[in-house]
């Protein structure tokens, strides 16, 4: 997986600026839609740490997203985001640790199925027990924007703007953190594992532990995304944990590009935009979505990120195969 070059990052920063300025030029509805896309991008980006970086395809990742979201409901109302955001991440990480430890005994297809099973277990925990407020979901009160005794009261009218900027900031921080992580030995080891896990083991890497660290970190980041989802929508329901959410995340990665760290961000934007356009055009939204995604994947094997690869890529070897090609 590549990290965009300086020119690529400049392009991404320009796009971020355009999003930040949306309240000035777009309708309130579209500002909210952008927030939804930003949250989706956070989720897909957290999943990219598994899929793109380490070649682990999980179908249970949404469970950690949902747990992060439900943390907002389970914690007392009125707490500061400075407390609820780390708490969501920690709860999600705490769930990811045992799930990862058990799932990582398997590889490839079996890993996919094991994560699916664990994800569905957590889904049913919230769907069928009173723990999370039932299968229809619940409204949650948004965490307070409060830091060091200074409370920031958001008037109702400007709430979409504030949430947009907040989501943009969290996504940017997550991306910057992961981009830096890819350059560390940990990032390189993950790349080695995706290339050839057995060889890495023969070199002396305890690959299962490296993968577990990635799994838990990805879970924590999904928890952050979930927290921002709950904060944005002020509503949580068990569907947030369901496997089709995980599948959607994988689709965003495929759409945006498996081989680039910023792929999921492009993919999430495209996915949300596509859903919107499809709704306008037809009643068969899913069908249109599916066909478009299929076409993109067939025409652009490197996803949307591959479109401008000349500009965005560093001098690095091309990612050879899709993560699905993991043995």
């Amino acid at each position: 997986m590549i990290v965009a070059s300086r020119a690529g990052h400049a392009a991404l920063a320009l796009a971020a600026l355009a999003v930040a300025l949306m309240p000035l030029w777009a309708s309130g509805y579209h500002v909210q839609l952008a927030s939804t896309a930003l949250v989706a991008a956070m989720f897909a980006l957290s999943l990219q740490l598994l899929v793109g970086a380490a070649g682990m395809v999980s179908l249970g990742h949404a469970a950690f997203f949902g747990i992060g979201a439900y943390a907002v409901h389970l914690l007392p109302a009125g707490l500061s985001i400075l407390f609820t955001l780390p708490a969501s991440a920690l709860l999600a990480a705490a769930a990811a640790l045992p799930v990862g430890a058990l799932s990582l005994r398997t590889r490839g297809f079996f890993f996919l199925m094991t994560t699916l099973a664990f994800g569905q277990m957590l889904f049913f925990l919230f769907h069928d027990t009173p723990l999370g407020g039932g299968k229809d979901g619940v409204f949650v009160s948004r965490p307070a924007l409060e830091a060091f005794g200074f409370a920031f009261e958001v008037p109702r009218r400007s709430r979409p703007t504030v949430l947009l900027l907040l989501n943009l900031g969290v996504l940017a921080a997550m991306y910057a953190g992961l981009a830096a992580l890819m350059g560390t030995l940990f990032g390189h080891a993950l790349r080695g594992i995706r290339e050839n896990e057995d060889r890495m083991r023969a070199l002396g890497y305890d690959t299962r532990r490296v993968k577990l660290a990635a799994f838990v970190l990805a879970g924590a980041l999904a928890g952050v995304a979930g927290h921002m989802s709950a904060m944005t929508e002020a509503f949580v329901n068990p569907e947030l944990l369901g496997w089709h959410r995980s599948a959607e995340g994988l689709l965003m990665i495929l759409l945006g590009g498996l081989g680039a760290l910023h792929g999921p961000i492009l993919g999430a934007a495209a996915f949300v935009g596509l859903g919107e356009a499809a709704t306008l055009l037809t009643e068969r939204r899913r069908l249109v979505e599916g066909l478009v995604i299929l076409a993109v994947v067939l025409v652009l094997p490197r996803g949307l990120a591959g479109l401008r690869l000349g500009l965005l890529r560093r001098r690095e070897p091309a990612p050879v195969a899709a993560a699905a090609a993991e043995p």
């Binding site: 350059g183 560390t184 390189h188 060889r199 023969a202 002396g204 070897p317 990612p319 050879v320």
Partner: protein
């Protein structure tokens, strides 16, 4: 004789009804080049895989520096100083030659801070990687993507990766296979030099090379040790000649 760096004690490995390695004992000491020869399917690679932890023995034990290491996973044996190369070239094909060697050299990372340091800024491992590449003569190809290398270069990269981990024991499974005569000669000389400060196990089919470099030879047939000794004794052994050398030399 030096104390054994790595030792096989009565190693046996069965695959279903087939006993690929049967009650093989073997000592590898620093300063000694120990060659294992035998016809195809004799169980040589299986023996290496047992010694490197790639396979678990059905019976018997592996001892590392005198302590029991049976059933250890490959990464743990590698951390204990066992480096290996594979018969079928096994490298990180999408990465550059240098990145392959650097990851090998960095495999001894301990502590969170080392894992979170920029990989490209680690002077020690980078120097180690460069030294390993220079030793096998791959410095020129440092920037090439591993997947684009020639067969001979890939064999050299295999060895450089093992060397970059600074091992005590080197298990080399047919490192010369498919190399040109000149390349092969150079590599044989390198192996001889390496055996001075490593415990080296060499699997090789080319008898000229084996008799030229080996200090000790083990002849395997059908998973069993047929004969063991210094090269001249093996060359003179009637049993070996009949079972193996007869159709090779």
């Amino acid at each position: 004789m030096n104390p054994a760096a790595l030792e096989a004690v009565g190693l046996t490995r069965r695959f279903g009804g087939l006993t690929a390695v049967s009650d093989v004992s073997l000592r590898l000491s620093v300063g000694e080049l120990h060659a294992v020869i035998g016809p195809n399917g004799a169980g040589k690679s299986t023996l290496v895989n047992l010694l490197s932890g790639e396979l678990r023995p059905s019976a018997g034990s592996v001892r590392l520096g005198g302590a029991d290491a049976t059933g250890w996973p490959p990464w743990r044996l590698a951390q204990g100083g066992v480096g290996r190369s594979f018969q079928r070239t096994n490298v990180l094909r999408g990465m550059t030659v240098f990145e392959n060697a650097r990851l090998a050299a960095q495999s001894r990372a301990f502590g969170l801070s080392r894992w979170l340091r920029a990989a490209a800024a680690e002077a020690g491992p980078i120097a180690g990687a460069r030294a390993a590449l220079a030793r096998v003569g791959l410095s020129e190809a440092e920037g090439a993507v591993a997947g684009t290398l020639s067969h001979g270069q890939l064999r050299l990269l295999e060895i450089a990766m093992a060397l970059a981990t600074a091992p005590t024991v080197l298990l080399l499974d047919e490192p010369l296979a498919g190399m040109g005569p000149e390349e092969g000669e150079r590599l044989a000389a390198l192996l001889k030099a390496l055996s001075r400060d490593h415990a080296l196990l060499l699997i090789e089919h080319d008898m000229d090379v084996v008799f030229a470099v080996a200090d000790t030879l083990t002849v395997m047939v059908d998973g069993q040790v047929l004969e063991r000794g210094p090269p001249d004794r093996i060359r003179a052994s009637a049993a070996v000649r009949e079972a193996y050398l007869g159709h090779e030399v």
